[in-house]
Symmetry: C2
Subunit: 232 residues, 2 copies
Amino acid sequence: MSKASSSVDRVYDRLRQMAANFEFKPDERINESALSTKLGASRTPLREALNRLVAEGFLTFQNGRGFFCRSLSPKRIVDLYEARQAIECEALRRAIARASDEEIRAVLDYLNETEPHYKTCESTMELLEMDEDFHIKLALLSGNSELVSMLRNINDRIRYVRLVDLKMILAKKQIAKNEGAKLSAHRIVLNALAARDEDAAVLAMRNHIERRREEATEAVRIAYSQLYVPAE
Amino acid sequence: MSKASSSVDRVYDRLRQMAANFEFKPDERINESALSTKLGASRTPLREALNRLVAEGFLTFQNGRGFFCRSLSPKRIVDLYEARQAIECEALRRAIARASDEEIRAVLDYLNETEPHYKTCESTMELLEMDEDFHIKLALLSGNSELVSMLRNINDRIRYVRLVDLKMILAKKQIAKNEGAKLSAHRIVLNALAARDEDAAVLAMRNHIERRREEATEAVRIAYSQLYVPAE
DNA sequence: TCATACAGAATTGTATACAGCAATATATGC
DNA sequence: GCATATATTGCTGTATACAATTCTGTATGA
């Protein structure tokens, strides 16, 4: 009746979350026995899940030495941001060609609903989730499930750094506070999409992501230090 | 000293090849016991390899029912071609910004060396390999390893259809035979790259891939029938 | 003829065992 | 004290066993 999720799936979901949040430290070696008892499953399903995560880029694997957390390097994050630009801009192009006005309208409704919270929201994690949701909804308009799953993968792999980046931005906004009247980047993209203006939409999207990409190196630096500083 | 490749790795490489070539028929269920004896390894490493391939999009997995070959649908192939456009065009942009003249020159040398064979080559498989190699070399100029590995994944997943497509093209060329003097699409892209002309390069690349994408539906139809017709 | 129920066979899901390798600690020579 | 060799420990890699589930074929009833 309900979902009969297997041990592998449970373990996989949990591990993916842990890996995304860098609950394994960068380059840390993963002890299978310890982890298997912690997750309440034997090593067999655990290793199957670990292998999936290797293929997805969350972990690495060295023969005879086992599984390791991926490293956290600025270069890698910048590469992923570039890949994100590629995927999201392509998705946008396809959305312009294929999405119905109603579908676009639905995303606009979501934006209208969530945008007020951009300023007031307390939790940066919630903020990031809203942001990711918006981008995924946009990508879904492309009708291309490969692009969507690629974007999901990238988002999960850069989430930790994005969270740090977002905190940086908010800290600066507190000082600057001049963003009030300006159209949000999301709205600019969506307006161009609704007008079926491909060049404007793609350009806006590229710039939107580009701005974050430029901050990536600093964000990684902060993220790195944060991972090795006790949480007070 | 040399690579101490494990059982999982051997099995994985072999399975990936088999999956790419649709040696498993679309949607076919995979019998683990039979496959493990065939590959000379027990089910444990086999399943680890299968899990990797699921994450890479070569296979699917249903809880309690096991592993299946991915299905072969025009929609999926078209989606992958679109993703390829996204990746390769982005890589090209970055190559224009970052690749040195020497690096570009090296790819040009490769093109000069291989292009003569485009017309004479007997084996369509070899032809496709040369084509893939060219595109990978181009992507490598981006300096972005994420884009490269994404492209590799896509190429492996559409290879079977591309092979069929290539045979179609060659069959038509036999009749048309008017391609002699025209610049190859590869050369147009590479020239624009060397001239650091982003718009021209990206446009040429998009068109180059677009042409194949348009043929995808027909190619899939042929591929599908070919898979179920005895090889005489 | 079709749907349903059931029994047996086949297959998957997971735990466990153990051999072999890698990392670490200990001992030895200089 | 330092480097090198050696023993010990711990962990990984793979095979195998068995329980749980799914599938297949057959029989039964409408």
